[in-house]
């Protein structure tokens, strides 16, 4: 491990970005984008989550391959759960 020490400026920059994105996502939700409201909300949430993971959680700077493998694996299995469950719900009442 012996992580690199990141500058506090970087942290504050990330924090400011996160705050901006929070305001943006709240404001955008009042604009009618049709079905894209949900998409935008989720994309912004994912950007925010990625910033936290990459910088606050140091994944961007780690030399550990396993950390990344674990993250990818967790989201892969989460996706399996969601996708295969929805496979039932979206087709259940098709005639």
């Amino acid at each position: 491990m012996s992580e690199r020490i990141l500058s506090s400026k970087l942290y504050i920059g990330i924090w400011a970005t996160l705050m901006c994105l929070t305001v943006i996502t709240a404001v955008v939700s009042f604009v009618d984008l049709g079905p894209f409201n949900t998409v935008v909300a989720l994309v912004i949430a994912t950007i925010k989550a990625s910033l936290v993971v990459l910088f606050f959680m140091h994944v961007r700077y780690t030399h550990e391959r396993m950390t990344k493998v674990v993250i990818v694996a967790a989201f892969f299995f989460l996706l399996l759960l969601l996708a295969l469950s929805m496979a039932d719900y979206t087709t259940r009442f098709l005639a």
Binding site: M1, S2, E3, I5, L6, S8, Y11, I12, I14, W15, L18, M19, T22, V23, T25, A26, S29, F30, V31, D32, L33, N37, T38, A41, L42, I44, A45, K48, A49, V52, V53, F55, F56, M57, E64, M66, T67, V70, I71, A73, A74, F75, F77, L78, L81, L82, S85, M86, Y89, T90
Partner: protein
């Protein structure tokens, strides 16, 4: 992969006997923490799955329920959590550099933000109680039905929305409470000068946990509060 020989028998107090060296121990702790977070992803994943299914089935009720939540409190709470994540990150940084006093300050700030979040959450829950939006025998969504006559609302499915709301925010809050407990212990130990630039694994791992709980909220916020805020026609 550390294939280094496990030969060193003499070691400092922070190295447990069965590890070869400090680096192996820290690598192990870090991997363990990330694996734990992976299990947490699946734990919340089960609930996200339920949420997704019911949102797909009962979209109108979810949209109306979402509108009835207080978006100002929700946004403020998101901001509070992001601030707490910043103080955690800075706290870990202080620990890395061995600045013990600074570490204590950041831990304290984190606790303050964490408790603020829980306080606001509590206020929101209390509002739900006042509005009879807590699922159960006294659940009543007449106010929502009246407020949004344009949206067809089934009260039962509305209850499902609030069930998901309470289950998700409740388990998130439980994680926050655990986090606050964790950071209180860290604060105590930091005050006793337990951590140094050589040994700050607990700070780092608790930090990872805190960030994870933050990420869960980053998703919960749009999923619960921002389902459908477009102006009604």
């Amino acid at each position: 992969m550390s294939d280094s020989p496990i030969a060193v028998e003499t070691h400092g107090p922070e190295l447990r006997h069965h590890f070869a060296d400090v680096e192996q121990q820290r690598d192990a702790a870090s991997l363990g923490m990330w694996l734990f977070l992976a299990t947490e992803v699946m734990f919340f994943g089960g609930m996200f799955c339920a949420y997704l299914v019911y949102r797909y089935w009962h979209f109108h009720e979810f949209a109306a329920g979402s509108r009835s939540l207080d978006i100002y409190l929700g946004t403020i709470n998101t901001a509070v959590l992001i601030c707490s994540s910043l103080t955690v990150a800075l706290g870990v940084r202080a620990a890395q550099m061995g600045k013990q006093k600074l570490l204590v300050v950041y831990l304290l700030l984190t606790l303050v933000f964490g408790l603020t979040f829980l306080g606001i959450k509590g206020k929101e829950w209390y509002d739900k109680y006042e509005e009879h939006h807590i699922p159960g025998a006294s659940f009543n969504a007449d106010d929502i039905v009246k407020e949004y006559p344009q949206i067809p609302i089934n009260q039962q499915y509305e209850q499902t929305f609030f069930s998901m709301y309470f289950a998700m925010t409740g388990l998130h809050a439980l994680h926050m409470i655990i986090g606050v407990g964790l950071f209180t212990v860290l604060l105590y130990l930091a005050l006793k000068g337990r951590y140094s630039a050589n040994y700050y694994t607990p700070i780092e791992n608790a930090g990872l946990y805190w960030h994870f709980v933050d990420i869960v909220w980053i998703y919960l916020f749009p999923l619960l509060y921002l389902i459908d805020r477009k102006p009604l026609k």
